[in-house]
Point group: C2
Chain length 162, copies 2
């Protein structure tokens, strides 16, 4: 699906959501949706804020960003993550299901896909619970940190031997 196509579709989904829930269709809300769907990968409120100011040339307050993000989450157009300090968000419509790999040392977050894993999660029978979405976070040491650690260890051992 083309990018513009996706934007049109999510705008429509959002409109339906706003109508169904008696919320107003303000220009701020659509500008925020537009900006979010221009961002690839994760973002936090600060990044979204500067993105709106600079790229889209649209001025909104942080309060409105927080308010609107909640609507978008409820409309199932955005998902929220809480890795590091500040909450991270990502667009969710028309995105491949993916999982998150987080390095406990440098904090780097990498996405990966795995169909078997996805099937296993989606086919899990949940008793008395209506699944809406899920997040799998896998923690460990990334290859970069692992290499750095090995180098450090070698150099420490050398020191001790001296």
């Amino acid at each position: 699906m083309e990018s513009q196509n996706v934007k049109d579709t999510v705008r429509q989904i959002f409109t339906e959501y706003l109508n169904a829930n008696g919320h107003r269709k303000t220009p701020e809300r659509y500008a925020i949706l537009e900006t979010i769907y221009s961002i690839d990968g994760h973002f936090d409120i600060d990044m979204l804020y500067s993105q709106m100011m600079n790229q889209e040339n649209f001025r909104v307050s942080r309060a409105t960003l927080y308010n609107t993000i909640i609507l978008l989450i409820n409309a199932r157009l955005v998902i929220k993550h809480q890795f590091g300090n500040s909450s991270q968000y990502e667009k969710s419509y028309n995105r491949e299901t993916h999982h998150h790999q987080i390095c406990t040392q440098c904090g780097k977050v990498t996405e990966f896909q795995n169909e078997a894993l996805q099937n296993a999660i989606e086919n899990t029978k949940l008793s008395r619970f209506q699944l809406s979405h899920y997040s799998l976070y896998i923690y460990g040491i990334c290859s970069k940190c692992d290499r750095a650690n090995r180098r450090k260890k070698v150099s420490n051992n050398n020191k001790k031997e001296k």
Copy 2:
């Protein structure tokens, strides 16, 4: 494994960790470990703080709680979650692997076990990444909220008809 037995074991693991990393073995650290392993399920810093003061009659500052929790996480004795606002923690030694079901409406967190799911996750081949642990969060509507929503909907429909 008995509760006292577990506490002895984790104390020993912690001691080894502290020794291996050149950290001091302070009474605060052991008291915090002891308290954490007396708590079932999740806790946050505030709950741990009052738990220490009241139950264990041990006075520690929040700063020390935060510091010590980091050590315990590194020693693989505690896991950190970030659902709601404040970080949630749980003891991890000798606990069954489990997953988390979170109601997006009332925020209630329920644990559940599922071996097939666990196997699927643990057998996932990760390229250039050393797995240490993982968390699966499943979001949706719990049965209680679902029932409440149905009742509300019925009552709204009745209103409209009048």
